[in-house]
């Protein structure tokens, strides 16, 4: 599954990264998979949220088949 990356993660890893997810997954699994591939970014990922289909995801379980887009949202800093 492709995951969109932003801010420092996009600049240093790339605009997307591919991860393997089970058919049922939790948002935390997304962060863990990226951390496993890029341990250097653990601190950034710890501060980040997961967005699923352009909505902040809470701790509930998601079905991979129902999901179109996943993104990692580092701490926002607009304004």
């Amino acid at each position: 599954m492709k995951v969109k990356l932003f801010s420092i993660l996009a600049e240093e890893i790339g605009p997307t990264t591919d991860i393997d997810l089970n058919s049922e997954f939790y948002p935390l699994d997304v962060k863990q998979a990226i951390e496993d591939a890029y341990p250097k970014y653990k601190e950034v990922l710890d501060q980040s949220l997961v967005a699923i289909d352009e909505e902040y995801a809470d701790d509930k379980q998601f079905l991979l088949n129902d999901v179109a887009e996943i993104a990692i949202i580092p701490p926002v800093s607009g304004g």
Partner: protein
Amino acid sequence: MKIEITHEPIDTQALTQSLIHNEYGGVDIFIGNIRQFTDDIETEKIEYTTYKKMAEKEMHKLADIVLAKGMDVVMVHRVGELQLGDIAVFIGVAAPHRAEAFENCQFLIDELKHTVPIWKKEYDCDKIRWGGLED
């Protein structure tokens, strides 16, 4: 009502004018621009990036809260590379009376800073800082 994320300079005059209606007696506007000094740290420029589709959705959610109270709202954020003095964000609320215009304008900019996926990369004289991240 207008919600936009744009690469273009923000036309504050046109946006302000769009908030002037006969039914509203007060318009409150917040403009955020690129500041040179933050304490001893000197900033040269800031590059803003966004997750545009989600950012506009989040801005609509915030605007809807204020629109539901019978006010008018403008929220425009510029992205790309901005220089000192450039305007990064324009928030305007038109309301029947000033107190609610002030209050809701502050609500919108405060919440935008918390929830809307826009990021700044700050080019300071000593180093690059990513906004929002703990050093």
